[in-house]
Symmetry: C2
Subunit: 173 residues, 2 copies
DNA sequence: GTCTATAAGACGATAGAC
DNA sequence: GTCTATCGTCTTATAGAC
């Protein structure tokens, strides 16, 4: 059962470097020193590896979208969720081939729709056009700011407070 | 010579939807109703299609990184460059397989390094840790905020002013 | 659980006719 | 400038032995 984890770790790393479509099963098993058939004992398809990788973070973002939290708490939750699943968000959140596979994985809402829901929650009901723009800006800070800031490492407490404050300033004119 | 443009248009669209590695030459020619051999009359390889697509926007970001503009002007230039090459940035800027190919295209600085240079310019010389965090936040607004805001369309003048103001607020505590 | 071997097809790219 | 046909390789996935 530890082999499963090792496969997922290597897959995440390679998907981040070469994308899902650009990574072959042989690439993964080659780095692990095992045969392709051995991998298929643990996973029934390539798509299932991706699915196991994204299921948890995707569900977390989905809960956020449905949380009805006020803007300040919602932004904090976006920062924490992004930091918490940093490696997966980095590896797969920006890979079109992975996103396409996830969409076809019989899932109702894709990542794009979840993002849009969160931005709408930040903007509030019947937002003015400037307010809508500021919601996009704040979400960009909370998600991509956190990502690029903590590239590779962990999010320190004082950095968390600072990025959250920046997101709030972007939201409130 | 118009055929070349039609190929690039379809390639950009498919790379955005399925990534570079996830798009085959047959996918592109299939949508254009031409044979694979016909495409290879206009481009000598798949990588050359990608290269033709990204050369101009990549050079534009590189000029920005070397511009030594003060923060306010630099952020405005990032917003305008991102909006100006919206479709390409969207299609390829977030695709790991494309980024890997571009890196191997005998180019000195990759996209990651260019981004880091711009963030460093925003932070200024010998920045404090909070200032460094704010530089990441401001760049996230200027790039990803602009991207998600104008998804598919064009950046309106008043939206441009609003996102720029949000980026400046993120930068200055 | 892991191996070797292989099926069945998609892939990038080319040859040569028109 | 575009076609059909094909080369050699890589791909996902499986069969069957250990």
């Amino acid at each position: 059962m530890d082999t499963r984890r090792r496969i997922l770790d290597v897959a995440r790393e390679l998907f981040a470097a070469r994308s899902y479509a650009g990574t072959s099963i042989a690439d993964i098993t080659g780095r692990l020193g095992m045969s392709k058939a051995a991998l298929y004992y643990h996973f029934s398809s390539k798509a299932e590896i991706l699915s196991a990788l994204v299921a948890e973070p995707l569900a977390a973002y989905e809960r956020l979208a449905d949380s009805h939290l006020p803007p300040a708490e919602l932004l904090a939750a976006v920062v924490d969720t992004t930091a918490g699943y940093l490696d997966v968000v980095d590896a797969i959140g920006s890979d079109p081939s992975a996103r396409a596979v996830i969409r076809d994985l019989s899932r109702q809402r894709g990542a794009d729709e979840i993002n849009a829901t969160i931005v709408a929650a930040l903007a509030g009901p019947a937002p003015s056009e400037p307010r809508r723009v500021r919601a996009h800006a704040a979400y960009a800070v909370a998600k991509h700011g956190t990502l690029s800031l903590t590239a590779g490492g962990k999010l320190a407490t004082h950095d968390r407070a600072e990025i959250l404050a920046a997101a709030m300033r972007a939201l409130d004119a």
